[in-house]
């Protein structure tokens, strides 16, 4: 309870700052928090909004699942071999810090404008951190765990399942947390740049019409959802690290 109160207070302060900003730049089209919330409630009542949200959610869900599976699998593959790990790490880090949005046209050229492009783009964002975290977790796992397993006569399969997996899980969850966030970001950017549906498109469309309350309402909603999802993963993370 206490660890909800603090962030809630911070969010409260941010809302107040927003209101103050709204008053300070009066009449320039920056809606007040109240206007935004009213708009948000309005949106939540529209079927159209839910269609778009479902579109985003679908792309996001598929991207998360695929990048999680892919990221962990690739991370394990690279982590099992020290040379492979050391060779690929800087490449992965470099890919991570690349402004991937510039590669979006390539994605569009390959996948077309459908949901697959957005999924692919989400994966491009979300997979690398997971791969990196998983790989490093395996590379840096205490060798003594493996030796203990050997001494207890565990088969390689038993070792992977009952020792390696739980040992790297905290790192994997941390990676997943980052990956999930970035997946969402990737999908939304994809929708903003070239798409005909999804919340990103909705925001872009509203921006084009100068419909600020809608822009902020959707952005706010996404921010809150992202924070909540992240907080849940964070709790999972903490629970696992006794």
């Amino acid at each position: 309870m206490k660890n909800v109160l603090g962030p809630a207070a911070v969010l409260g302060v941010l809302l107040l700052a927003w209101e103050a900003l709204h008053l300070a730049v009066a009449n320039t089209g920056l809606p007040s928090p109240v206007t935004t919330l009213v708009r948000l409630v309005g949106l939540l009542g529209e079927a159209e909004f839910w269609d778009q949200a479902a579109e985003t959610a679908r792309a996001f869900a598929v991207a998360v699942v695929l990048s999680t599976i892919g990221g962990i699998a690739l991370g394990i593959l690279l982590g099992m071999n020290r040379t492979a790990g050391v060779v690929s790490e800087p490449i992965l880090v470099n890919l991570y810090s690349l402004p991937k949005v510039t590669l979006y046209p390539v994605v569009l050229l390959i996948f077309g404008l459908g949901i697959s492009a957005r999924i692919a783009f989400g994966i491009m964002h979300g997979m690398i951190p997971l791969t990196l975290f998983t790989m490093n977790a395996i590379l840096q796992m205490k060798p003594v765990y493996r030796r203990s397993a050997a001494v207890m006569g565990l088969t390689p399969w038993q070792t992977s399942l009952t020792v390696v997996l739980p040992a790297i899980l905290p790192e994997v969850i941390t990676g997943a947390r980052l990956g999930v966030s970035l997946c969402l970001l990737g999908v939304l950017i994809g929708e903003m740049f070239a798409s005909r549906n999804g919340l990103g498109y909705m925001v872009m469309h509203a921006m084009e019409r100068g419909d600020m309350p809608t822009v902020l309402a959707v952005a706010l909603l996404l921010a809150v959802v992202a924070l909540v999802v992240n907080a849940m993963l964070l709790m999972l993370d903490r629970a696992w690290r006794h």
């Binding site: 003594v144 765990y145 030796r147 001494v151 207890m152 040992a167």
Partner: protein, 277 residues
């Protein structure tokens, strides 16, 4: 009693009596001839007598852990042969338990689950697991921490968990690699008492690697002193203690003689290591 009498080299015991035996064992890391090639150990001849408490002391990096790896079947000797209970060691032999220098408790399992881990994998039935785990946890004084996780325990407690985890497997040969290296001396002496108690109760053969001379002198039937790398035994010392000993023997006059003798043997070897930074 004179030092000369103490320093009597142990004769090779007869075949029936020996529990594990290393003959001419060496271990070289890396390709021979290359710059990275490290001659870490040997040649080593060693007979562990059934039921004895044998300690190995030696300067840092002299190959103590390598020796243990060979006995545990974790590492193959480059030359020579290693056998346990009359059979050559190939892979980790059943009946051998190991406690490592590093904390090897699994942080994701509670103390009980840690201790039960090996038994569960081995498919021992639940009632038997419960019985053995209960006993080991109690024996190592972990009763009140049974549900705790390693992160909530001190370093000494965690090593006890690892010892309990080894103990439940009922090993006939227990190998310990500086298990108390991270603890302070006083705690270490007390843990030594428990090790002695365990040894007496299980009547297993114990090989203890340590860098603490007092620990070696107080706990062991015999102490093997290793040279700087490549480690070979430069001395094997019979302590002549009763089976029924504990840490209070540190005030025994022979204890001082023993540590003094060990230190004399090791001082020059340790200086070799220290000079390399």
């Amino acid at each position: 009693m004179t030092l000369a009498a103490l320093a009597e080299i142990a004769p090779v015991s007869d075949a029936d009596d020996h529990h594990a035996r290393l003959t001419g064992v060496t271990r070289v890391f890396g390709k021979p001839g290359t710059a990275k090639c490290v001659h870490a150990l040997g040649p080593i001849d060693l007979d562990l007598r059934r039921g004895e408490f044998f300690s190995v002391v030696g300067p840092s990096g002299c190959g103590k852990s390598t020796l243990l790896d060979v006995l545990a079947g974790l590492s193959k000797p480059t030359e020579g042969t290693a056998e346990f209970e009359g059979r050559p060691i190939d892979g980790v032999p059943a009946g051998v338990g190991v406690v490592f220098q590093e904390d090897a408790s699994f942080p994701w399992l509670s103390v009980t689950d840690n201790v039960a881990f090996g038994l569960r994998r081995a498919g021992v039935d639940a009632a038997e697991i419960a019985r053995r785990v209960d006993y080991a946890v109690g024996f190592m004084g972990l009763k009140q921490f049974a549900g705790a996780y390693p992160a909530q325990l001190s370093g000494g407690m965690r090593q006890r968990v690892c010892i309990a985890r080894t103990l439940v497997m009922q090993p006939r040969l227990i190998l310990l690699d500086e298990p108390f290296g991270a603890l302070d001396q006083q705690t270490r002496l007390l843990m030594g008492d428990e090790l002695l108690r365990l040894w007496r109760e299980t009547s297993a053969t114990v090989l203890l690697i340590t860098h603490a001379l007092d620990e070696a002198a107080m706990l062991s039937d015999r102490v093997g002193v290793m040279s700087a790398r490549p480690g070979v035994f430069i001395d094997i010392l019979e302590t002549g203690w009763e089976v029924d000993r504990d840490s209070r023997i540190v005030s025994h006059p022979r204890f001082g003689d023993l540590t003094g003798h060990l230190w004399e043997k090791l001082r020059t070897e340790s200086l070799k290591h220290l000079r390399d930074g």
